[in-house]
């Protein structure tokens, strides 16, 4: 059973096809890269998968279940996690409060029970391991705004993993990070893959993509121009022409 399957999805904005006929599959434990020049439709594809946009055509499957017509929060409750280019945290709150949000998904509880504060497990029990991999040390009671950008980026991935997702969409985790922070983010992703999470990774740092990903989809002007292993993609003429450039 694949954790994510996308079949010929597409969306048009004002007559312009932002994404057209994109198809791929992500198996549990795989890391799939999604690359392309700016405006290629990478984030739009992620938005279509996560349900923020409603696809004009095509289908999205999570764990072989058709979720094309489901809302974003329904897809989240079915095990889809996502991080953003700029971390989306709850302001005027502590680090602990921010981490709690969404971790109820791990318990697969109904929304009403979680809304009323019922918790199946305490996320603090398992967070230590993840924080160690991410090399993050934070004061849980500190205000979220006191954390540095690099810390927030890694924390968002940790939060995503605390929800026990089956698929995790990660959008440009390397932006704004130094080499060491990037290394820790990669460690988190590898850990998640080992745990059976399927990951879709948008990134512009090619060395990271080539090292981390099991297979790569390349988009240009909303269309797939290549799909294959890192070696296959880096040798693809169309990819070189559109994005990688010649060495």
């Amino acid at each position: 059973m694949s954790c994510l399957r996308v079949e010929e999805i597409g969306i048009t904005f004002g007559g312009l096809a932002a994404v057209s006929d994109v198809s791929f599959t992500v198996e549990p434990g795989e890391i799939m890269g999604l690359i392309g020049p700016n405006g290629a439709g990478k984030t739009t594809t992620l938005n279509l998968i996560s349900g923020l946009y409603e696809a004009d055509r095509g289908r999205v499957y999570l764990n072989d279940q058709d979720v094309t017509k489901k809302t974003a929060y329904e897809r989240a409750r079915l095990g889809l996690g996502r991080t953003f280019q700029t971390p989306h945290m709850l302001t005027r709150s502590t680090v602990s409060d921010n981490m709690k949000l969404g971790t109820d998904l791990a318990d697969q509880m109904g929304f009403l029970k979680s809304f009323l504060g019922f918790k199946g497990h305490n996320f603090l029990d398992e967070v230590d391991g993840l924080m160690e991999i991410a090399d993050l040390k934070v004061d849980w009671k500190a205000d979220i705004s006191s954390l540095a950008y690099g810390q927030l980026k890694r924390l968002e991935i940790v939060r995503g993993l605390l929800a026990h997702p089956k698929t995790l969409l990660i959008d440009e985790p390397a932006a704004g990070l130094n080499a060491k922070e990037l290394e820790k983010s990669v460690a988190l992703m590898r850990h998640a893959a080992r745990e059976g999470v399927g990951i879709v990774l948008i990134e512009h740092k090619m060395d990271m993509i080539m090292n981390v990903c099991d297979h790569i989809v390349v988009l240009n002007f909303g269309k797939m121009i290549a799909h294959g292993t890192p070696d296959e993609v880096s040798a693809d003429e169309a990819v070189i022409e559109a994005y990688l450039g010649r060495k």
């Binding site: 923020l52 929060y73 996502r82 989306h88 302001t91 409060d97 109820d104 998904l105 705004s145 006191s146």
Partner: protein, 291 residues
């Protein structure tokens, strides 16, 4: 001296009302991102319902009245959310929602005048009579008002500051996209928030009706609530409470030198706060973001 204590008591009691209305404003702002200009009309609606059930329909069972009132408030909350919030979530012009609440306030008021009563009416208090303490007099209804306001304020404070559901409602307001992706059904969450606010403000109006009469002029509490929010500290629930009590006291003490221009005094203080301390007495907890 007795007059001073009496004015203080009056100021605190009406200030608690302003504080409750202000908290409802803050709640909706933090949980739904909307500044509700119908808040005063919702308060008046609660008073009108008390007249409808107690005097016009003459229902004898208190429990039945509470259940019916809850049902009405929840229904109004759902309709209010569906009309004033959901259609405008993605509006290009963010003030559209605010304008809609102004219209909604007018509709609520006119519905009360049309279907319940167009006259100013009185309703019986929960317990008639007053307690005389030394030189001053406290009507028994005030105790119910104090108790209910304190209960609601404490409950709201815990809801938003301490409980998980408060976090969820804040998340839904701050960033709908991210909240959705965290498994939060934001539309439903926001609707729950609207219902909580309408219930809170509606029941406040119900308790106030024996003291301030059943009249559309109850919606005037709204303007004072805005002043409370600004004076206390915009965005802060604690600030809303302190601001409300302060506004009540300012209004009460202002009668020492004017009984006609109370509004001038209250809003004059508001202007002074905006000029010299715009963040209010208790600024909101957001620290400056690092560069």
């Amino acid at each position: 001296m007795a007059l001073f204590f009496q004015q203080t008591l009056t100021g605190v009691s009406v200030g608690l009302v302003y504080a409750t209305v202000a908290m409802g404003l803050m709640l909706l702002l933090r949980a739904a991102g909307v500044m509700n200009f119908a808040q005063g009309n919702l308060l008046a609606m609660g008073a009108y319902l008390s007249f409808l059930f107690m005097e016009k329909l003459q229902l004898s069972s208190g429990l039945l009245m509470v259940i019916l009132a809850l049902a009405v408030f929840v229904a109004v909350g759902c309709v209010f959310c569906s009309v004033c919030f959901l259609p405008f979530k993605h509006a290009k012009w963010p003030q559209a929602m605010m304008i809609c609440t102004i219209g909604a306030g007018t509709v609520i008021q006119e519905c009360c005048l049309l279907f319940i009563t167009a006259e100013t009416r009185s309703v019986r208090p929960i317990l008639a009579g007053s307690l005389s303490v030394g030189g001053f007099v406290i009507p028994y209804q005030y105790f119910f008002i104090f108790g209910a306001m304190l209960f609601m304020m404490t409950g709201l404070f815990f809801l938003f500051e301490k409980m998980y559901c408060g976090r969820v409602m804040s998340a839904a307001a701050q960033n709908k996209y991210a909240a959705d992706l965290l498994g939060i059904p934001t539309n439903l969450t926001t609707m729950v928030t609207f219902c909580i606010v309408v219930c809170m403000v509606g029941f406040s109006g119900w308790l106030l009706a024996p003291v301030y009469r059943v009249s559309a002029s109850l919606s005037n509490f709204q303007a004072r609530a805005f002043a409370s929010v600004v004076i206390g500290g915009f965005g802060s629930l604690k600030g809303a409470i302190i601001g409300g009590i302060l506004v009540g006291l300012i209004e009460a003490y202002s009668t020492y030198f004017t009984t006609t221009y109370k509004d001038v005094v209250v809003f004059g203080c508001l202007l002074l706060v905006l000029a010299f301390c715009p963040q209010g007495i208790i600024p909101s907890g957001t620290k400056k973001e690092k560069a």
